[in-house]
Amino acid sequence: MDIVKIVGIGFLTLIVILVLKEFKKEYAIYASILGGIILLTMSFGTISEIVGFLNRISEKTSYNNSGFITLLLKITGIAVLVEYGTSICRDSGETAIASKIDFAGKIIIISMSIPVISLALDTLLQLLP
């Protein structure tokens, strides 16, 4: 993952956006969306390696936590997508939509982590005398 390539693509997207803002205002948003997509997909290669590493580590640990690692990965994926959506909306000036996406993302993450919270509470209650 060559950081120079990433920064270069970022600058190229910036230039394309500025040029498009000059000619056609609404095409700038498409350029920024596509630039974001290109930069994100470039970094997904490394992310999948990290995910594989995490999975290998979680198999080695003794107690049964198969659900936790997958849940963590799901939450990270949701966070990545929510951050992508909100930043695009804020760029184009629609902070209201950005906050709605943020809100929905938080709700989904909380609803997904409820089983883990209940499991933690149960184990805690067992520890108490």
Binding site: L20, K24, Y30, I33, L34, T41, F44, L81
Partner: protein, 64 residues
């Protein structure tokens, strides 16, 4: 799926702007509207396919 899609978008945008100017100067307002709409649709389909690729990659990487 590298940088050339960005340049494609820029090319289509500038081309549509120029065609719009020419047609509106030539007095054909409706055709100018049609071409800008067509350009918008072309760019939209490109962007939508790229967005679906992104969502697919995210789904496979994080097994959502």
């Amino acid at each position: 799926m590298d940088v050339n899609i960005l340049l494609k978008i820029a090319g289509v945008g500038i081309l549509i702007a120029v065609v719009h100017q020419i047609l509106s100067k030539a007095g054909r307002e409706d055709q100018a509207m049609m071409t800008s709409l067509a350009g918008m649709i072309i760019v939209l389909t490109m962007v939508v396919t790229e967005i679906s690729n992104l969502f697919e990659t995210v789904r496979t990487v994080f097994n959502l």
